[in-house]
């Protein structure tokens, strides 16, 4: 029986969305710097946020390859929307889906899938970034729940989220083994949001600090077994990194596409700059980087789908694809000449937005350290 190929079909469909709804408006949306509520809701209606969850449970029934395909296409159009969408599809909802009660799912997970509620993930603290074992946000057991105190920072979607998945320490002496995830609804008394950060790039992704002061959550808001926080985080870390690599691929494609178009349009000394070998060399390098990023990323994605441990592969993909995206954005600002320095053209946005990818999902310094270790050093 003839059937369509899901990856092709979804890529084409998302590409049409990106070309119609994002590419023409990306510059304007970026300038406004607001949370793109309408687009967010539209993605919800399209079932984008449910891509990693089974259809019978309110998701769209896709695998990691399809998830990366969608992330890549969205990032090609507007990195901040892609980042918001990735947060909503993976980190912001994963633990609710896996460990939440039916009531929690009904109240938070399903509306999040439909784009009616914004999800979010609180990991980093002012004093604990890469060093998560040092997390000091404390959840203290009370008779019928937990009291949460502490501070989280670099919370993507923080200012607009309806609920938070928060990494807390329940037993500081146990370090990693005392970590647990908690669901904290935005309307919990004692929860306060800081002012949105003024960001270099991905200006529609709203990020802020979240302070918890005696925030009470009931027992069933602890997501996952006691002390399982770090294990559960590790269980999706490879996917987070693979997804981040896919975002970087999208950015590379956007930059490469714009550069090729521009090289054909821009004429100097009587011919278009596409005719000059130094421009050709830049384009060639970008194309090779892109292809290599794809191979690494989709290899890792297939391993995730096949349940093969692949933190190494995912980390390599994230490291390489993101660095390649930085190179692509850098070269784009050069190929565009002085226009690359103008806020009216796209390269500046790629140049700013790609920085976001450097930190999310693990800094490159940490990744390099780990990769070296895994390589046998």
């Amino acid at each position: 029986m003839i059937r369509s190929n899901a990856e092709n079909l979804i890529r084409k469909s998302m590409a049409r969305f990106v070309d119609n709804e994002l590419v023409p408006k990306a510059q304007e949306i970026d300038e406004k710097g607001e949370f793109p509520r309408e687009l967010f809701e539209q993605l919800g209606r399209m079932g984008v946020f449910g891509i990693r969850y089974p259809k019978a449970k309110g998701g769209s029934g896709g695998n990691c390859v399809l998830f990366c395909t969608v992330c890549e296409e969205l990032a090609r159009g507007l990195m901040s929307l892609a980042a918001i969408s990735a947060m909503q599809s993976l980190m912001g909802t994963n633990f609710l889906f896996r460990f939440g009660s039916e009531e929690i799912k009904e109240k938070y997970f399903h509306p999040a899938m439909r784009g009616e509620k914004v999800a979010c993930f609180c990991l980093t603290e002012p004093e604990a970034g890469s060093d998560l074992g040092n997390a000091s946000t404390l959840a203290v057991r009370t008779e019928n729940g937990f009291l949460i105190n502490g501070m989280k920072t670099w919370v993507t979607n923080g200012p607009v989220a309806d609920f938070y998945t928060v990494l807390c320490q329940t037993n500081p002496e146990k370090k990693f083994k005392g970590l647990n995830f908690f669901l904290v609804p935005a309307d919990t008394p004692g929860l306060s949001r800081g002012k949105p950060f003024d960001l270099l790039g991905t200006r529609n992704t709203k990020i802020c600090e979240i302070a918890f002061k005696d925030c009470f959550v009931p027992l069933d808001h602890m997501l996952g077994g006691e002390g399982q926080g770090m294990t559960n985080l590790l269980s999706i870390l490879a996917e987070i990194r693979t997804m981040t690599a896919a975002l970087a691929i999208g950015l590379q494609r956007a930059a490469l596409g714009d550069c090729i178009r521009y090289a054909h349009e821009r004429a100097q000394f009587g011919k278009t700059i596409a005719n000059y070998q130094l421009i050709q060399a830049k384009i060639a390098n970008m194309a090779v980087d892109l292809e290599a990023s794809r191979l690494l990323t989709y290899k890792a994605a297939r391993m995730v789908d096949d349940n093969i441990p692949c933190l190494t592969e995912a980390s390599m993909a994230k490291y390489f694809a993101t660095e390649a995206a930085c190179r692509a954005a850098d070269q784009a600002t050069r190929i565009f000449g002085a226009y690359g320095y103008s806020m009216e053209y796209s390269p500046q946005r790629y140049y700013r937005d790609n920085r976001f990818l450097l930190y999310g999902g693990g800094t490159h310094e940490i990744l390099q350290t780990n990769i070296a270790k895994w390589a046998g050093l």
């Binding site: 003839i2 059937r3 079909l9 979804i10 469909s13 049409r16 449910g50 259809k55 769209s60």
Partner: protein, 280 residues
């Protein structure tokens, strides 16, 4: 309310390029898309289904690759899709196409409404809708830009005219052809797209035997009209570049226009032929 929607896979015309040397169409590497008007037809059907319930069957005729547009239609909310695919169907003109689609709709059987796009961007004929309606003996309303109400046994629509519109009430079952103005289309749902690619997808493929037609009645063999020649349009006008300062070029231009009977009158510029042809 059971609806059959006719859709077609067409080359993405925005990518159509000409060979600069021969002036021929370069079709290589051109993507294929769902015909834009048909997408609006499907959206109209999905909205009617959302309001009134019922089932939507999408019907398309094309090569095996056209499976992608029927899968996309499932993604947008069609319940079922039928792809008519057979080498015998190739090269059909609108006569043979409407016979084939008509036969397939007879086999599908149950419907209150058939909706199709006004025309396909590769042929621009706008003939399939009315010809299928005639084949099935259904009333038709073309150029529909608003489906106002569906009541028991009738549909009320607005039909676009060159200088306004008409409101028409039509008995069901009927066939409507819609224009882009009728709605804003949705993007397919990811979950439905994934389903459409699965083994269990509600997509059926029918060949000539499945719908009970003779190969001599379909495709090129069953066509009444035939293309005998294709050629590049005479692209090259004799371009005359006007030289001189701004005042001079504009003066020269106005002279040239006058030479070609494009003269200034009270009501504006009209060519000689046009004025002669104007009704008094």
């Amino acid at each position: 309310m059971d609806i059959v929607v006719l859709i077609k896979q067409v080359p993405d015309s925005s990518e159509v390029k000409l060979d600069p040397k021969t002036g021929h169409l370069l079709r290589e590497g051109i993507g294929a898309i769902m015909n834009p008007d048909d997408r609006h037809a499907l959206e109209a059907a999905v909205r009617l289904k959302e309001a009134h319930g019922g089932r939507i069957v999408v019907l398309s005729m094309g090569p095996a690759q056209a499976i992608d547009v029927v899968s996309e239609a499932i993604g947008m909310g069609a319940d079922e899709a039928v792809l008519l695919s057979d080498s015998a169907f190739a090269g059909a003109d609108t006569w043979a196409t409407s016979s084939t689609l008509g036969k397939a709709i007879e086999k599908i059987g149950k419907y209150d409404l058939i909706i199709c796009g006004r025309q396909a961007i590769d042929g621009d004929t706008a003939q399939i809708g009315p010809q299928v309606a005639e084949y099935l003996g259904l009333p038709q309303v073309t150029y529909v830009f608003d489906i106002e109400a569906v009541t028991d046994g009738t549909v009320v629509v607005k039909k676009r005219l060159e200088d306004g519109y008409e409101k028409v009430q039509c008995d069901l079952p009927a066939l409507l052809t819609v224009i882009a103005e009728v709605n804003r289309t949705r993007y397919p749902a990811i979950g439905n797209l994934i389903d459409a690619c699965g083994e269990q997808a509600p997509i059926t493929i029918w060949n000539a035997a499945d719908i009970g037609v003779m190969t001599c009645d379909v495709g090129l063999a069953g066509s009444l009209t035939h293309v005998i020649r294709t050629f590049a349009p005479k692209g090259g006008r004799q371009t005359q570049m006007l030289e001189g300062d701004t005042g001079t070029v504009v003066r020269t231009l106005l002279e040239k226009l006058r030479e070609n009977h494009l003269v200034l009158t009270d009501s504006g510029v009209l060519s000689a032929e046009c004025r002669e042809g104007k009704l008094s």
